[in-house]
């Protein structure tokens, strides 16, 4: 791993509602490719990515925590400023604006000062990735299926001039075929911009991620190559507690659908 990091997380400690959720979490997100953040449910993965976006209440993030995005400290910065540095965020619940149309959801994500030719090119890219969004432009986002909402949430961050994408469980709750489409689109996007990805579907992780960071009860317990980790069944089982996650059948299914890119 000789790639310089774009985001350096150092000593990140977060308490929510009085209990410590993250304790001195430190890891790097590489400036290219996908870094996967793994771990069982409730170990602090979402808390970590929400910290990057500055979405915790003031006082939740302990002093001494550091989130260096290139040469900027994100700790203490307002969420909209962080986003304007070029960090695109797709939250776990997708958070599309249900009462707004698909087109309006996308319009919100446009850089405020004019779309210009760059904007038009980005719209083309997004519509080529997700043709369904053009068809449903006038429909309220709340009427889309779960997979379509996920595509809209991804499209929203791809419209902006992103330098890092932070994506929380993009395939959660999606049918395998739809999950494959979403993962394929993500993989294409990841060729242009680095991604910090929280993902439970290890088949998707294996397909996409180069680096892996594993959290357990608020601490980093493993960092290294994603494939090395997943190739080691004992280690995977011990860290993630999911022996079944790499059953051959499931892996094959995910690979055929992801592999259509």
């Amino acid at each position: 791993m000789t790639v310089a990091p774009i985001l350096r997380i150092r000593g990140l400690s977060v308490s929510l509602g009085g209990s410590a959720v993250l304790r001195e979490v430190s890891f790097d997100v590489a400036a290219t490719g996908v870094t996967a953040l793994l771990g069982r449910n409730g170990v602090g993965k979402t808390t970590t990515v929400r910290s990057v976006l500055g979405l915790h209440r003031p006082g939740s993030v302990a002093r001494g925590s550091s989130l260096m995005f290139e040469d900027r400290e994100l700790c203490g910065m307002r969420t909209d400023r962080i986003a304007r540095l070029g960090i695109g965020y797709v939250p776990e619940d997708r958070a599309v604006f249900a009462g707004l149309t698909v087109a309006e959801n996308l319009r919100l994500a446009e850089p405020p000062r004019g779309r210009g030719t760059l904007g038009a090119a980005r719209y083309d890219f997004v519509h080529e990735l997700f043709p369904v969004l053009r068809e449903r432009a006038r429909q309220p986002a709340g009427t889309l299926s779960g997979g379509e909402q996920q595509m809209l949430a991804l499209a929203r961050v791809l419209l902006g001039p992103s330098r890092l994408l932070v994506i929380d469980e993009p395939t959660k709750g999606l049918a395998p075929k739809v999950a494959g489409e979403v993962a394929a689109a993500l993989l294409r996007a990841a060729r242009q911009v680095p991604v910090l990805l929280v993902e439970q579907n290890l088949a998707v992780v294996r397909r996409m991620a180069r680096d892996a960071v594993v959290l357990d009860v608020g601490r980093v317990v493993h960092t290294g190559g994603a494939r090395d980790l997943l190739a080691d069944a004992d280690l995977t089982n011990r860290l993630l507690g999911v022996a079944a996650a790499l059953e051959p059948a499931e892996t094959a299914a995910a690979q055929t659908s992801v592999g259509t890119e």
Binding site: L55, R57, D80, A95, F97, L100, G160
Partner: protein, 289 residues
Amino acid sequence: MSTFILLTATGLGLAALYFLVAAGLSLIFGLMDVLNFAHGAFVSVGAYAAWTVADHVGGTAGLLLALPAAVAAGAAAAGLTELSVIRPLYARPLDQVLVTVGLGLAIPALLQAIWGADPVEWQLPGWLNGTVTVLGARLPTTRFVLIGSAALLLLGLHLLLSRTRAGLVVRAGVEDRDMVAALGINVRRAFTAVFALGGAAAGLAGLLDGVYQGSTSPGDGTSLLIFAFVVVVLGRMGSLMGTAVAAAAVGLVQQFADYASSSLGDESVVILLAAVLLLRRREPKGRPA
């Protein structure tokens, strides 16, 4: 028949006032989760600013100049409130309630110290004091001014919310503020703008309330606020059309019940609120924007 028309026009006139106050209240709650108990005070600030201008200039010109005065005073009071005391307390909702309740008491007291506890009388130009005959009923002209103003505000707010980028930000913010910020949009600017906009509508309500009643006293805004809160709850927080319909319902029910028995007007509103809330409990969850 003419009684029916008179009651309807008066009810809708009252509804117009409720809507002017409730629209801002509802948007502020929808976007920021702030229960703004100081909103009635913004009504009174607008009313006294308007009265002062109308009284100095006099006549139709005075009344026309009172309009921007009311709007500006309401907007300024609300904008300053948001910037100075609401903004530092966004993470502390209970303290926010305390602060707005405090302002809701302090501002009318301040107005009373300046203009006195007795009502100030409005000198309306002749054309506004007259009546218009509709289907045999002689309706005071002021009713139409009230209803027209509320309709214009409804239309204006609707266009603002549906056609502009600022409106888009507000509608999205009502659903999920954090996500709006995560798209790189400064939501706080929208907070201040919505507060000021709500204050402007409240200030206008102050002017119209004075015109409607012929007088203004320091506590008028607070009395209006109680019914405006009922309207906001009935119309579902954050929904503009819901607020308009609820305002009409409350105004009409109040007028007709008042006609049936003069003590029944206010009670009927409370009964309406209770009935709707009980019925609504059975509905499945879900909140239209």
